[in-house]
């Protein structure tokens, strides 16, 4: 069962080959069996999951529901799910049981999906390795001595190890695409505004976007159909008609990518990119040429400014968003304090990990009197230059292709002492968030140490269906996405 795609699982459930309760029991058994090794889940609740599975079986019995009905899905632990502990990978929310459902959770619930558990993550989505979780690091299923990437490391590991067919994630600077690349899974970060952020605990409000990880472009499209859509409770949710993300998956013929112009940014293929990552990425682009696509060289001149700009804006927004965690209404309150100020300072110092504190401090600094113009406003101006680079590039191509990461997954502990080294992991993903564009990573081969490599696709605003179609054609002509790590047996 765990090797079936989402589509195959859905068909099997509908044909009554097995029930959602049986499928969910099997998934939970695998989770319990392998989570000790991977640490992909922070919270698992068999009773709650099975209760949902029984509701799904009733829906299927009545001939209701859709492709996600009865399917166990892991949710990154910053989506509030009513009655479920929702920790954001942090001690400060270690005891927080969400009193309401995020919009995304409501969507899955309406679709009859089953919550398989809450996935581990870097604290408040701040990290590129899932080593910043209060609940311990997640390990890469391909090599347990290596990181799965972050911040959606738990979600990526759960899908890669075939514990669940799909997981939600969020991507503020690459946190879906980078772990997808490191774990050989498919990840999609939609256009800013395509997925509601209501109930999705905020890190950087102008950059955060909820998305999905799965094993194929086709499966991602099915999940997006559930996740996407306007929500009036998120003031940045874009009011546009609901779309069918599967609509560009079926193109036939020997040259299904005829007419597609793929842009290759010169700035992504420099000495910053490891040769063992460049090779499979270039081979994948060649494969797409064989399918009929043409390749155009494009330039993103302000690319080298993306990481510095991001760490001003993301930190500033984080310092503001995380100021709500003060020990008053929810979350960790220090056991001892002298007065209110001391209560705030101790609760926050005890509750936040080192990376979260660093970003809060940087954010506070760049927003403070005397520095706001030189740092924050300047960063927002350079941000517009970066967004303009993409608009310019999309006049010459339909989709941009390149690496998702500068290297394959690195060993645990290798970069955790040097924040700047860690930040440079996000070199190719960050500018996409600054511009608010959609981005994907799909497996395209293996690099050093037998570790997976991802091909990143970047599209123009709201072009996810086109991007999924292109990825799907690549996956019809290759099988990288079907490879699974060994050791997670039948």
């Amino acid at each position: 069962m765990h090797d079936l795609t989402l589509k195959q699982l859905s068909e099997a459930l509908r044909a009554k080959k097995f029930s959602s309760e049986e499928l969910t029991r099997a998934a939970l058994a695998r989770i319990h069996r392998f989570n000790g090794r991977l640490n992909a889940f922070i919270t698992v609740d068999d009773q709650k999951s099975l209760a949902q599975a029984r509701v799904a079986d009733a829906m299927i019995g009545r001939g209701e529901g859709g492709p996600l009905t009865g399917i166990p899905v892991a949710h990154k632990d910053l989506f509030c799910a009513k009655g479920w502990r929702t920790t954001c990978g942090s001690k400060i929310l270690g005891n927080f049981v969400a009193p309401y459902d995020a919009h995304v959770i409501e969507q899955f619930d309406r679709a009859g999906a089953v919550i398989a558990g809450k996935a581990n993550m870097d604290e408040f989505a701040m990290g590129s390795s899932n080593e910043n979780s209060f609940f311990g690091p997640v390990r890469n299923p391909w090599d347990a001595s290596r990181v799965p990437g972050g911040s959606s490391g738990g979600s990526a590991a759960a899908v890669a190890a075939r514990l669940v067919p799909a997981a939600t994630g969020t991507d503020t600077g690459g946190s879906i695409r980078q772990p997808a690349s490191f774990t050989g899974t498919c990840g999609l970060r939609p256009t800013y505004g395509a997925v509601s952020r209501f109930g999705m605990v905020a890190f950087a409000s102008s950059l955060d976007q909820g998305g999905a990880l799965a094993r194929s472009a086709g499966d991602l499209a099915l999940v997006m159909n559930v996740m996407g859509g306007f929500d009036a409770r998120d003031s940045t949710s874009v009011d546009r008609p609901k779309e069918d993300y599967t609509r560009e998956l079926s193109r036939d013929g020997a040259r299904p990518l005829d007419g597609v112009r793929i842009g290759m940014p010169m700035e992504y293929f420099t000495s910053d990119l490891a040769a063992d990552v460049a090779a499979p990425v270039l081979a994948a682009i060649d494969e797409m040429k064989k399918l009929g696509a043409t390749v155009v060289k494009v330039s993103l001149p302000n690319q080298s400014l993306a990481v510095p700009v991001y760490y001003v804006i993301a930190s500033a927004e984080a310092s503001s968003n995380l100021s709500r965690f003060d020990g008053v209404r929810y979350g960790h309150r220090a056991p001892d304090y002298t007065d209110l100020m001391d209560m705030y300072k101790k609760s926050r110092a005890q509750g936040f990990g080192a990376e979260a504190k660093r970003r809060i401090l940087i954010g506070t600094y760049v927003l403070s009197h005397g520095y706001y113009d030189a740092y924050y406003l300047q960063a927002q101006r350079v941000r517009r230059l970066i967004a303009r680079d993409f608009s310019e590039a999309f006049r010459q191509c339909d989709v941009i292709a390149g690496p998702a990461t500068p290297s394959v997954a690195f060993p645990l502990g290798e970069k955790s002492e040097d924040p700047v080294q860690m930040y440079l992991n996000d070199l190719y993903t960050i500018s996409v968030n600054l511009a608010g564009l959609p981005g994907m990573s799909v497996p395209c081969g293996f690099g050093a140490h037998g570790m997976p490599v991802g091909l990143q696709l970047i599209g123009d605003y709201f072009s996810e269906a086109k991007m999924l179609g292109i990825a799907h054609q690549f996956q019809r002509a290759s099988d990288w996405h079907a490879r699974a790590p060994s050791g997670f047996g039948a």
């Binding site: 009011d239 209404r329 660093r358 030189a374 300047q378 960063a379 967004a387």
Partner: protein
Amino acid sequence: MSLSHDEILRIAHLARLEVREDEVAALQQKLGAILGLIDRMRSVDTTGVEPMAHAQDLVQRLREDRVTEPDARALYQSIAPQVEAGLYLVPKVLE
């Protein structure tokens, strides 16, 4: 690009984060490195460029001034550290 001992304490106070004396040096070093990374973008000529707050050209949607939410205070306060008579309890602010 390095922050002084006093600047670190000032920012920590603004951020309502307790920072112990023995933590300051390490913070100076790590934050200094991050600010060094950030410095690369400061010298870019952005004359005439408007700041970009986010990707979509959005205007805050308004809604009708009607009551739409139920009173869920009991539920929301069930997870609070300290409540009494419907109030969140914190140390006294005014003497």
